[in-house]
């Protein structure tokens, strides 16, 4: 709030008004969260615990009508709950009316939510000690472990070429991701973009896009690109490239957000423009973290590249899935050992490089 200079302002009023506005906003958030809590509890109680556990149903009945009724009930209960002293969300947003009462209700509701979540999780994952320790299961485990520890050395040279391919996929994906990542990271750093509305909108949209891209695993990108550009190393490389941009842009921009403000302040006090402030105040502070993140990402990409191979992204993973399909466990054993060795070496090398540059 920048008031006009001519108008005499009463500062206490501004503070009070801001506080009231914030409280109102928090109350709306608290109501929404309370509705969610109620809805979540009701759905979990009904579907996971009542249907699955007590009635032991295999197929759960589903209708939007049912969900709708539950939702409307939750809205009513949620609004009512938020306006009482016992509200969990009011406490979370710091607008609880009576701290003494809220203290014990928060404990009770907190425990309740945690417990139904835990129980539902147990039911959903079909946790079963019987399956884990049945004699049939143990035999299967013995068979596969026996084969894995007697690797077939006949395919060593093929596997070696495949794993080198994997390392190159990871390396190239990391290298060509650097320029776009750098570019994006400046536009997704809050401290550089919050000055005016247009840049803040750009920041916001870019953040959403990057979060979306990042939330899709490289494995799924590999599936998409294996259809797009055909099965093979290129699909795997592009998949890693896309995901590396999205996740490193976040790391880079966080590094930008965490810089020392002093030099930025000093440079902007000299009357420098935005680009100059970034170049002199920001860039020198972030080169080392950027380098470190990038090397670490190469290491991660080598690991991911092996997994991506499983869905047709080329390299050692593709080879692994072929032998696994033929149930040739001795060959699979060799491939797994080689992957483990390479991952271990990459991990060590990248750690040493990162140590050295700091």
């Amino acid at each position: 709030m920048i008031a006009e200079p001519e108008i005499e302002i009463l500062p206490h009023k501004i503070i009070e008004r801001n506080k009231q506005r914030e409280d109102k906003f928090n109350f709306v958030k608290a109501v929404l969260l309370d509705i969610f809590f109620v809805f979540y509890s009701v759905v979990v109680l009904k579907r996971a615990i009542y249907y699955k556990f007590f009635l032991e149903m295999r197929e759960l009945p589903f209708s939007w009508g049912d969900i709708g009724i539950l939702f409307i009930i939750s809205i009513v209960v949620g609004i009512f709950w938020a306006s009482t002293k016992t509200s969990l969300s009011c406490k979370l947003f710091g607008i609880a009316k009576d701290n003494k009462t809220t203290k014990w209700t928060v404990e009770i509701f907190g425990w309740f939510l945690f417990n139904i979540t835990f129980i539902a999780g147990w039911i959903v994952t079909k946790f079963s000690l019987v399956d884990l320790f049945s004699s049939e299961g143990i035999q299967g485990a013995q068979r596969i472990f026996g084969a894995l520890f007697q690797p077939e050395m006949g395919i060593f040279d093929d596997a070696l070429f495949a794993i080198i391919e994997t390392i190159y996929i990871a390396l190239l994906a990391t290298l060509i991701s650097i320029p776009p990542t750098l570019f994006l990271s400046f536009f997704t750093a809050r401290n550089l973009m919050r000055d005016n509305k247009v840049s803040f909108a750009v920041y916001y949209v870019l953040r959403i896009i990057l979060n979306f891209v990042r939330s899709i695993e490289p494995l799924i990108w590999a599936i998409i690109f294996s259809v797009w550009v055909g099965i093979g190393p290129f699909a795997g490389m592009i998949a890693l490239f896309i995901h590396t941009i999205a996740s490193n842009a976040k790391l880079y921009s966080e590094a930008i957000e965490n810089i020392e403000q002093g030099p930025v302040e000093a440079i902007s006090a000299t009357g420098a423009n935005k680009v100059q402030i970034v170049w002199y105040g920001v860039v020198p502070q972030i080169i080392l973290p950027f380098l470190s993140f990038t090397i670490y990402r190469w290491d991660i990409n080598v690991r991911m590249a092996t997994v991506i191979g499983l869905v047709g992204g080329g390299g050692i993973g593709t080879m692994l899935i072929q032998y696994q399909g033929l149930a040739r466990w001795h060959e699979v054993g060799l491939i797994i050992l080689m992957i483990a060795f390479v991952v271990w070496v990459m991990d060590y090398i990248s750690a040493r490089i990162r140590e050295a540059i700091y």
Binding site: A3, P5, P11, G262, P263, A272, N273
Partner: protein
């Protein structure tokens, strides 16, 4: 008047009311020192003058012109005439002393040239002259973070001199230095004030330094001016009013 501050208020987003209607003016050539406890609003006041912080209300006039609401190019031009020196020096650590000094001139260098770090010979010569003023020409090619605190502050002074400032703001410039170094750094401010005629507004903690260097003193307490006068007039009573009943003066020489 070089600076005229009128009814300046600053309320931070967290509700802190840092400045409560501060008004004062500064004549060209003055060495104005602002004293007060930590949190009394000294830093906020300085940063409102060169708009590193946006004041909530009130006006700041610089060279007779209201700079409280100007934007963009105009604001940058105003900023480039006001030098600033900070408590933590705020140098670019991984760059050479020379680059740091030249960075004070960025307002006058084109964006393209500054990214390529392509500087005119005159600018480089000027940077060396300013390093000479603060007496560390021989360190020009060294990385800024390898210098001692006092030397870093002198580089920061040289950087602000690159702006040929009409006004030099100094936010507790010696608070992270030892007493001997403090005195030598303050000496450079005095030199700039006397020899170049630059107006200086400086936040300080130690009264002994205030008495030695200030031509006029303003004391802030909880965001308000409670004293305005000559440094010699600060007696025991005033001292206790400004710094609180418990305070006792520490002598550093």
């Amino acid at each position: 008047m070089i600076v005229e501050v009128k009814k300046l208020h600053k309320i931070y987003n967290n509700g802190t009311h840092a400045l409560k209607g501060v008004s004062f003016s500064v004549q060209p050539g003055e060495f104005l020192v602002i004293i007060g406890l930590s949190g009394s609003g000294k830093s906020t006041l300085l940063r409102c003058i060169n708009r590193l912080i946006e004041p909530t209300s009130g006006t700041v006039k610089f060279l007779g012109k209201d700079i409280t609401h100007i934007k963009g190019e105009q604001l940058r031009r105003a900023k480039s005439q006001i030098g600033m020196v900070f408590q933590q020096f705020n140098l670019i650590r991984r760059r050479s002393v020379l680059t740091n000094v030249i960075s004070g001139k960025l307002g006058a260098i084109s964006t393209f040239d500054s990214i390529l770090e392509r500087f005119d010979k005159e600018i480089i010569d000027e940077a060396y002259r300013n390093l000479e003023t603060v007496g560390i020409t021989e360190k020009a090619r060294i990385r800024a973070d390898s210098l001692s605190g006092g030397q870093q502050q002198r580089v920061a002074i040289a950087r602000s001199l690159m702006q040929n400032p009409k006004l030099l703001l100094a936010d507790e410039p010696v608070a992270s230095l030892d007493p001997a170094t403090s005195n030598s750094v303050m000496h450079y401010f005095e030199k700039i004030n006397k020899d170049l005629g630059t107006t200086v507004i400086c936040n300080l903690h130690f009264l002994s330094l205030v008495r030695k260097y200030a031509s006029r003193v303003i004391a802030l307490k909880a965001g308000e001016i409670i004293y305005e006068g000559l440094p010699g007039e600060i007696n025991e009573t005033w001292f206790r009013t400004i710094y609180g009943e418990e305070a006792e003066e520490v002598e550093i020489r």
